[in-house]
Structure formats: structure tokens, C-alpha cells
Symmetry: D2
Subunit: 389 residues, 4 copies
């Protein structure tokens, strides 16, 4: 039996269908997709990849099956889904998700097409597994789908721990052993057993603190926003890749293309050399008109052009970022309290408070090259009506 040494879980034994899936190009490609994409520009040690994360999720899923007494084909299906849950990611992971969705309608979790053909399908079928059933688990559907992609999933448990280990920010240091031991099944649904309200709360809180400090750090968001705009231009370029080719690129291949294409060379270089735009506007939630919260792509692009125009700068010199509110999927986690299954958000006042805390941290940002922040700031405040708010 092979075991792979991992910096987070120590030895991860790999057997059965997983051992063969590991050797497919689709899984090996994840070695070239960083887990935290542009976060490495803030936390330079955060270079870990979706490959090692996928191994970690596989390992936790395997241990969860053990703990829940799930064996045989059911367990193989769960383990395969865990290992494959990220193969649908485009380059730079979540940062290109919207670009890809706008052009294909497909979200990275919809891996049915990837699992249904080629070597992945062949390996799954060789092991008696239905690719569609595995894809359903990745999507959070079906029996134990919640374990892979739900409110209480092994995906989150792994990434919190791993991101803490690699960024050096300890807030994600959750207790996977306690989480796994708390898992139970009630009428086919995953629940946390009695005495584990704070086990659920701890995961919730870890994610909220990591969100604030790591995942939504404004420098990472600036780089992400610049990357997204460069990707749009690359895909619009006649010599650029088509969207199907694009979503199979690795991080390095995408950066290389951005740097090597005229229309995207400057943004490519700026991302490569960490020479990013700076804050021109930075506004709290209650200080902006409500209709500016969570702007869609078209509205954002229009506003950027309008601000650039008003500032007398190149349209590419304005980047507007109005984030959506963080979702708290954990809120519907079920926990056994006093013998009954309760929803976490009905039982724990933390769920609501963490959502409120996230709103106090929310910021609208307008970003520009360092030597244009003054004029962009003035123009943006006027165009967006910030001074009237």
C-alpha cells in the first residue's frame, strides 16, 4: 500500500480507485493550480496546491467513512468524489470561476462532463463506479453528498487547516479529529452528535476569521480583480484560447499567456511581479448607496469605464470591486442537542453574529495604478455618488 507524506495529515494511505485516479493527467494537473491563487501575494508561503488539498480531502473522507461504518462500493464512491472534487477548477481556481461561468454556464463543481469521458471515466468504470454518481457527490447531491460538499464537509476542514499551515495565520487551526468523531448519520442525514455545538461553531468561526484575514484580504482581491479583467481580454483576443482550452490551463500556463499577449501583457506582468493597483476608494457598507453592493460584471464594467472617463485615464486604469456577501452555508448544519436534531442557526447565536460581523468588514474598493489614485479617487467618488451617501 502506498502512503503519501503530507505536511498536514502526515501519511495518507492511498488504495483502490484513488491510487489509479492519482496518476491521471486531470488529477496531476492540480499540482499546477495553487489552492489560494492570489493570496500568495499577501502571504508569500501560501503556495500549496489543489493537488495536496485533494489528497487531504480524500484522506478525511476515508476516515469519515471508517468512522461512519461505510464500506465497499459506497466508500469507494465517496473517496473518488473527494479526490476529484476540484478537477473542474480552471486556472487560478475561484478567481476564474466567474469568467468561465459567463462563457460556458458551467460552475467548477459541475464535473459531470470531465468525469464522463476519457481516462477518469475509464478508471471509475474499471472500479465499478458510475461517473455520474461520483459527479453528483462532488455537487453535494445524493447520499453522503453533504460530506463532500455541504455545510459540514471535509473540503472545508482540510482547507482551513492547510491554509493555516501555509499562510502562518493560525485562525484556521480546527480540530479534524474531533470533527470526524462527531459525525453521525440520522435518517440518512449527516449530523453532529450530542455535545458538539462548539465543534460546529469552531468551524464556523475559523472560516469567518480566515475570511477576514486571508481569503478576502484586499491585496488578494485587487490582484484577483486584475486577473479577471485580463482573462476577459485574453478570451476576447482573436489569438487567445477558446474557453474549453482556457479552463484546462494551469496557473503557470495562464500567466505565461497573459504576459505573452499584447492586450494583457501589462496586467500579466503586474501580477507576476506583484506591482499591483492601489486603493483609490475604500468605503464601508453603510457609507455607500445600497445599489452599489454586490455589483454584477456588466454594471461593474460600465462603472469602471465611466470613472475612467471622468478621471481622464485609460479605461484599464480603473478596477472596481464590490464583493458579494459571504455565504454561511454552515448555518443549516444539524447538531444533536438534548437528544433532538437542531439546526445550528436556530441553536447558536454565533451564526447570525458572524454574518453581521462580515458585513461590518465589507468594503467597496476602487483601485488604480499608484500614480493615478488621486484623480481616480475623485472621479469615482463623484460618479458613484459616494459623497452624497
Amino acid at each position: 500500500m502506498t502512503a503519501i507524506k503530507d505536511s498536514v495529515h502526515d501519511y495518507v494511505p492511498v488504495t483502490g480507485v484513488a491510487a489509479e485516479l492519482l496518476d491521471t493527467p486531470a488529477v496531476q494537473r492540480l499540482r499546477h493550480i495553487k489552492q489560494l491563487s492570489t493570496v500568495r501575494l499577501v502571504y508569500p508561503s501560501a503556495n500549496h496546491t489543489r493537488f495536496e488539498h485533494s489528497l487531504g480531502v480524500y484522506h478525511l473522507a476515508d476516515r469519515a467513512c471508517d468512522h461512519l461504518g461505510i464500506t465497499g462500493e459506497r466508500a469507494e464512491r465517496v473517496r473518488a468524489a473527494a479526490l476529484l472534487h476540484d478537477v473542474g477548477h480552471g486556472p487560478y481556481g475561484h478567481q476564474t470561476e466567474d469568467v468561465i461561468r459567463r462563457r460556458t454556464g458551467r460552475h467548477h463543481d459541475e464535473v459531470g462532463d470531465l468525469l464522463g469521458e476519457g481516462r477518469l471515466a475509464a478508471v471509475l468504470e474499471d472500479h465499478g463506479l458510475d461517473p455520474a454518481a461520483v459527479a453528483a457527490l462532488v455537487d453535494g447531491r445524493g447520499e453522503l453528498g453533504q460530506l463532500i460538499s455541504g455545510e459540514l464537509d471535509v473540503d472545508r476542514t482540510d482547507y482551513l487547516l492547510r491554509d493555516a499551515h501555509h499562510t502562518g495565520v493560525p485562525y484556521g487551526t480546527v480540530d479534524p479529529g474531533r470533527f470526524l468523531r462527531a459525525l453521525g448519520l440520522r435518517d440518512g442525514d449527516l449530523v453532529l452528535s450530542a455535545g458538539n455545538v462548539q465543534t460546529a461553531e469552531s468551524l464556523l468561526v475559523a472560516r469567518a476569521l480566515m475570511d477576514a484575514t486571508v481569503y478576502r484580504h484586499h491585496v488578494s482581491r485587487i490582484a484577483g480583480a486584475m486577473l479577471e479583467r485580463a482573462c476577459e481580454r485574453l478570451l476576447d483576443d482573436p489569438a487567445g484560447p477558446d474557453i474549453e482550452r482556457f479552463r484546462r490551463l494551469t496557473d503557470g500556463e495562464l500567466l505565461e499567456r497573459l504576459v505573452g499577449t499584447d492586450a494583457t501583457a501589462e496586467f500579466g506582468r503586474r501580477i507576476r511581479d506583484r506591482d499591483l493597483y492601489k486603493r483609490a476608494v475604500w468605503a464601508e457598507r453603510e457609507d455607500i448607496p445600497p445599489e452599489l453592493r454586490g455589483l454584477d460584471f456588466e454594471t461593474t464594467a460600465g462603472a469602471e469605464r465611466e470613472v475612467a472617463d471622468a478621471a481622464g485615464v485609460d479605461p484599464r486604469s480603473v478596477v472596481l470591486d464590490s464583493p458579494s456577501d459571504p455565504a454561511l452555508k454552515e448555518s443549516s448544519v444539524r447538531v444533536v442537542v438534548g437528544g433532538e436534531v437542531r439546526r445550528l442557526d436556530e441553536h447558536s447565536p454565533l451564526v447570525e453574529a458572524l454574518q453581521a460581523a462580515a458585513r461590518t468588514r465589507w468594503r467597496l474598493g476602487v483601485y488604480a495604478p499608484a500614480d493615478h489614485t488621486d484623480e481616480v479617487s475623485r472621479a469615482a467618488r463623484r460618479v458613484l455618488g459616494l459623497d452624497d451617501a
Copy 2:
């Protein structure tokens, strides 16, 4: 310059007044007082002592002075207070605090008498420090008193980290480097600088999760309640130590006395061998009459006798525990947000939510020897009126 190797902070350089204070019996005694007293009965690795904790607090205070630009005598005073902040603890730390307070009126933080005489006073005075001023800092008063014993103190930062390291429960893994870098002074008051709302929240949350999982674990509370009752009997015993002698005992000396005194031998042995009482009643906050919450010593003792009577068991066979609500001193922490100093509880919805969460975890417990839990349970429910609630 000496440096002492610590499992949490690595090398702790020790200089000046601290180097001499370290060698006094009052500080060396802290090697024999466990940081988490009866928690080791739940988490067997939690055998760390108030000595290493005091060193850690000293180290963080030293780094905080450095960061805040405090030097010379002001810094020496702070460092001395940090190192001495726990010398007032009785055996088993917080577990004997109430016993001692009832007989002396003195809380362990009132260290004026200890610092004002003997070797501690001599060392402080040799270094030009006023013992009373150091004692004031320990008590949270005076300039920088907040740093030693306040809402944002180095005491808490150290114990959260240290307790996480030694119990294995990761929830206390806070970020001391970030905390120290966030400290600032505004008009003489300690504040957290801009961008550090979640630094404060992370400390708050870490303590709340450690409270639930470690500090208020019911097995540790049972042992603590048994210890408290045994100490009362020991002090009532004509052959027992007087209260001044008692509060200077070490953990080992107290346990030895409990085991060696007839009136306390059984409880002493039960604590030593972890042969504890079991839960006879375990009731949520909303399931009990409000007047049963946070009972004082006399009322508790009366209720125990009444229940024992009704159950037909020895009065020592009933232990009633109705904890006080956890205080959240962190709530008045001041953080700079948008250029202004704001109180954390006015800015962060987490403060209120954590207090509410603590209330949902609150339990009233009645404990008894394993072979008497049934009759004690029935008697207690009747006597305390739990079934009518």
C-alpha cells in the same frame, strides 16, 4: 544574558529585576501550581504550571514594551508585574480562590501583602521599584495596568496559546505576533490599531471555545467542586492548616494533606486516583427555576444537605454545581476603526453572541458517587423543583 527555553515562546531572555525575582521561593513555588488544576483529569497532558506561564506573560509584556517604546523603569515595573502576576494564587489556582476569599476577603490578584515584605520586596526595592506600584499593575490599575490584567492582556494571550499546546485542543491557538503588533497607546489607554477588529475577535472567540471545551468541562468542574468541599473541611479541621498557611501550599502539599486527614481522605483519594462523582442531574438553563442560577456557597451547601437528606445518603455524597455566567471582559476593548476609537462590543456583534452562546452551554449539575446517582437524581429533581420548571 540568560535565556530560558519555553515550549511555547522558544527562548525567553531574562534580564534585570526578572532574573532575580525568578530565584525567589515565591516565584519558584509556582512550579508546583498547575496552570489548569483539575483540567488534567480530562486532558491528561495539561500538566503545565503557573511558573512557565508567568515566564511567558513576562516575555509577552517585554515584547509589548518594546513595541510600545516603553523603556527604563516603566518597563521594568511592567515586566516585574507580569512575572509576579500569579504569585498570589493558592494551591490548585482558581479552584481554591473562593475558599480563600471567604476566609480572608482576599482575591489572588491582591498581592500587595506578598510584594510588600520579604524577599520579593527586597528585590523590587533593590531595583528601584515600588512594590505597591507593581501590585497595582497586577491588579489592573495604573498606567499599563490594562496590559497585565485587563481586557486585552498578555496573561490571556499566553494562557490561550499554552493551554492549546498542552491540552492538544487547538481552539486557543491565537496569533501573539499579530496581537503585539496591533497594540498602541491613545491618550494613555491601550488600543488595538486600525484593521484589528478581527484580532480582538479572535482572542474573544478563542477564549469562548476554550471555555466550552476545556476550562468549563464538566469533569473538571466535578473535581473542582469536590476539591472545594474538601478544602473547607480541611480548614474546619482542628488539625488542619490555618488559612495563611493554606494559601501558600503547593498543589502536591494540599493533596497530601487531604489524603492524610480523616475528614478529607476520601475526597483526596478520589481526586488523586480520578475516581470522581458522576452526573445525577444535568439541566439546561431554561429548564431550571431562575433562582437556581449562580448559587452562592451557603445556599449551595444548604441545598446539598437537603438533597442528601431526601435521598437518604451521606451529606458528602451530593455535590451541587450552579456556575456563574462567564464574564466577557474583552467587551470593552478599544479598537481603532475608521480613525476613531470604538469599544469592541459596540462595533462587533460577536461579543453579544458569544455571551448568548455561553448561556446555551450553561448547565446545572448535581453529582454523586456512581452507585448513588439514581436516588440522588430523583431527590434533587424533587427538592430543586426541576420537574415543575
Copy 3:
């Protein structure tokens, strides 16, 4: 199934005979015996106990059985032996070993008498285990005895890791996962499988570095030597405990007795308050007459008296320490290299080199109260003939 949280191995599941053994006073007593006795006077965080260490050894033995395919009664026997391997320790562990051996002829590993009667025997027999067979394993005899007490044992793997965690000295950070995966059986003997020469070397080296930095630190040796002399006096005292009572004391009970007995009060206080003797002589191996290496108890005592006489000080004011050479039991470890089983010391040049390195670190020490080191130094150099060497 119970699982106990441990700071080193995270959750340790406890089942079968181990769950019942845990609750016996003989095992609970180990909570009151520190793993590293006087080392805490150098590394103040090193307060971990033989209880948590025993749990850790049990856990590694359990995982080793799993890996080796050993199940049922054979595995239960191994697990029981692992949990009980230290119940024979006297107070302060190895530091009283020689005292006890001189009076009883019994080494702490000879636990036959403890396992053969009372609750331990009852629990073992209830689970169908022969106490004598378990005692043999503790002593390193019988099938898999090597796993418990041999050249490659789980005892060492646990203590190296645990001592590193608690002292803060990283040299003991071995790789238990690799060690367990390397274990195999060949003709009934434990071997390390192919490719694991450096797995064995890493354990060897970790111990050698921990020996130099931690286990044989001269401050710990001074305290240990003072303790040993105090114990002899306590046992010689008419009011002192007999040897059978003595070997069952805990650390705290012994210290309490030393402080409370006239003949030993000073040494007891000095150990309690870390007010230790200082170095009067500190000589390298090649600078002393060969017959002074590794002196036995009687010769040491005689030399101490002679030196004290010559120095004109109280006989208790001289402590002579001439350590024995460290044994390297690891040298006969068997490793598979190129398909054949080879002895590690025949294959790895490190074994011999580490023994040589230990000899270069060896020191003869003469210790005395701080205010007598000068006269004791002069007298000792003369009496021991050090200046002629």
C-alpha cells in the same frame, strides 16, 4: 469507544483491557510521576507525566499491532504491556532507580510482583491475559517484547517526541508514522523494512542529541544527585518510609517527606526552590584518571567524604557525579538492506560515531553550595588526583 485527547498523538482511542487498566490506582498514580523528573529545573515546561507517556506508548503499540497484522489476545497482551510498562517506576522515575535497586535488588522494569496481584492482576485475568506474560513483555522478553522494550521500541519513539514537545528542544522530533510503517516481522523478529536505514539512524541520532541537550544536562544531573543522596538519608532515617512504601510514593509525596524530615530538609528545600549546588570541578574524560570513570555508589560516597574532609566542609556539601557511559541499545537493530537482514551497527557508521561523540561530552562533576565551590574545587582536584592527570 472512549478517546483521550493527547498533546502529541491527538485522539488516542482506548478499548478493551486498556480502558479498565486506566482506572486502576497503579496507572492513575503515574499522573503524579513526571516523565523527566529533575529536567524541569532546566526546561521549565517539561512537566509532562508518565501517565500521558504510557497512553502514548499504548497508542503506538496499538498502531504497530495493526500494521503488523497482530490481533486478538496477542494484541491485547501487547497493548496491556505498553500501558503498564512504567507502573514499576518509583518517585522521580529513573532518579530513584539505583536507590531502589540497591535495597530491593529490583529494577523498575521488573513488574512481575505488581502485575501478579491486586487490581492489575484482576483486570488482566478478567480479560484472559496472563500477568506473567504481560510482565515478560514489559521486560523485553517473549514474542514482540522487542516492541515494548528493545532496540526499536515504541517507548523511545513516544518519549523522544513528547520530550521535544514539552521541553521545546526540537531534536527529538522523530517520525512515528515512518517508524511504524517500517516495522516488519522476519522469523518472529522485529526488523525495519528495506529503505529504512535512515529511519533507524534518525531515532539513534535523536536520542543522542536529546541525551546531550536534555537528559544529561548537568543542572538536571546535579539535582538528581542531590535527590539520590537525600533519598538514601530518608530511607536510613528511623522515621522514614520502608523501601516498599518508598517505591510507591509519588513525586509530590517524596518531596513533601524530604522537606518534612530533618535529615533531608535542606536538600528537599533546595530541590523544591531550585537552589542547587554549583560546579566546583568539571573535567573531560581524558583529563581524569581512568579509574574515576563510572564510579559505583560506595566509592562515590567515600570520595565525597574524603573531599569534604580535605575541604573542611560538612560531608553533605560535596556531591560527586561520575556518570556511566550511555548505552546505545539501538546498535543491534535489524534492518533489511539489499534483501538481507543486517545489524544496524554493522551497516551504519553512525552507531560507533555516536558512542564516540557521547564520550567527548562526558564530564566528571563535583558540586557544592555556591559559597563553598572554591575550597571544594581545590580539595577535590587534590584528592582525586586531577592535576596529575
Copy 4:
């Protein structure tokens, strides 16, 4: 003052010349050079980069200056050299070192040309530092050159710790605090102060164990050998980059070029997808003719062609690897023992033993595609004369 969060050293404060150097493209490029190049194919979490390592080395150099009392321009020079010590690395670090040296005669440590022009020179001169003097330090020359690149350098201290953190292999877990505190200057030379023989030994041993387990793992060597051969072909290709362009590529840019060039596409793909050659021959040192040890590039290439010929396979299907012996630069470390400065290899028997141990681990490897290992094995044994040895 900026501080950057690092997964190994926590916060790294960055000031002065370092803050400006950080923003240069030459330093930012190190974000795209992995510290352990092909080792990530064995230890999938080992994706850390030369950027964060350079920051770490800078931090340790800064602390060493502090400890040694070195300030002002001398310290700035040391810090600049520490931060820049790796800017001369080609893509895939050490793996392309020989390729580059064969074509330019330049070793990656010869950074004079890089530091003497462009933005690096400008920044250094702005801060009053002579680029040539900084380059000399990187090369280990001049005052304190030993600290940057010597027997006792901060480079090694950082990489051992960092590689342990990211691979999960604990053997590199050295004690940087102890190392820094042990540093001293004697007549201008770096020495380790008294009592630190084992501090030096611990670094030596850590590197030896990491060499065996990580740095010289055969799978990483296979990938490295394949990469080297592909780079030679890329540079021979008329459409390939010239050597000056080549040495400035990042890891990703090189891999992209290998995959996109006909002559190197297969090897590029095999490295990208971890579809590596397998062992056809694997021979111990004493089992091969001495003249086959440490073969140079030309001889290796000739032997590969001959073996391929004899096996009837494509010449690219044979990869021969006969490593050079590991150097042990640590052997001339100076340590104070008994008041005198001694060379470590004269004092510690470990130095010689570790060299001998490395020789027992040495292997000659011949590698081939999985479906050709049999014929290549037979041909290689015959051609290389292995069966006669």
C-alpha cells in the same frame, strides 16, 4: 514598518534596503522558482519557493547581526546579501545549475553581473552599498561572508526548517534560536560558542537525514535527470531560448517551453504529469567499478547512447545517474571547546561517520520508460560491466 507573515518564522519585519529590494522583478521572480524543484513529485506539499526562503534567510541574518552587535552599513550589506543570495538561480534551481554552468561557466552564486546593473544595482547604490561587496558576501567571501554562504550559514538553517515544514519530514527541524545564540566572532571569524558542539552536530545530522530522505530521493533525481536532458535539447534547438534568456526563466516558463517544443515535449509532459522513468538498474557503491562513480556529463551521455544501442531502444529512453558524493562543508565549522577554537571535524566523530553513511546510501541508477526497463536493465548491466564487479 512592514512585517511579512511567514509560515516558518511568523512575522518578518522588513526595513531599509530590503524593503526596496523586495519590490524588484529580480526578487519577485523568486516567487516562481520552487525551493525544492522536483522534490514536489515525491512530497506533494513541497511547493514553497525561493522567495519565502530568501525572506527567511534575510530574517535570520538580521537576527544574527543583532546578536553579534553588527549595525549600520555592515548590517545592511549582510541583510541585502541574505535577501539576494538566490537571485542567480535559474529555473528549477539546482537542477539547471550544471546546464547553465556548462554553457556560461557561471555558477548561480556568481551574482556579480546581476547585482552590478539595472534595478538591483540602483537600489543598492541608493542605500550606499557597493554591489560588488554584496556579491562577494553571497559568494561567501569577505567579512561575515561565512554567515551567508559558509559552513554555518543562515541559508542552511532556513532551508532545513522550511523543507521540514513543507515536506512533512521532521528531520530538518533544527533549533534556529539556539544556533543564533551560539554564534560569536573570534578574530573576525564566525565560531560557535562553548557548549555548542551538539548545536553544530544537530545541523550536520539534520542535513544528512534530509539528504537521504528528501533531497536525494531517487524519484526526484529521476525527474531532475530527465529535466536536465530536456533542457540540453531545448538549448540545442534553433528555436529555443539562448542561455541568457534561459537562466532568467521561471519554473513555469521553462515547463511551458519544454511542453511546447517538439524535441522536448515528451519529457516536458512526463515531468508535468509525473509520468516518470522507472529504475532499470539500482546499484550500491561497492557493486560497481570505481570509475563509474560521479560520471561527468559527456561520459554519461556516451554511456546512455551505448546502452540504448545495446538495448535497441531510442537513445532518449535511457537515463544514467551516477551522483557525486555529498560534500560536508560543515566539517570545518569552528567551535569553542574548553576555551579553544577547534574544527568540528577534528572534535566530532560524527563528521566522518556521516560522510561514510552517505556513501552507503549512494546508488548508481539507470532509468527507462516503464515498458523498457527489462531490456535496458540487461543492456546496462552488460555495457557498464556491473555483473563482473
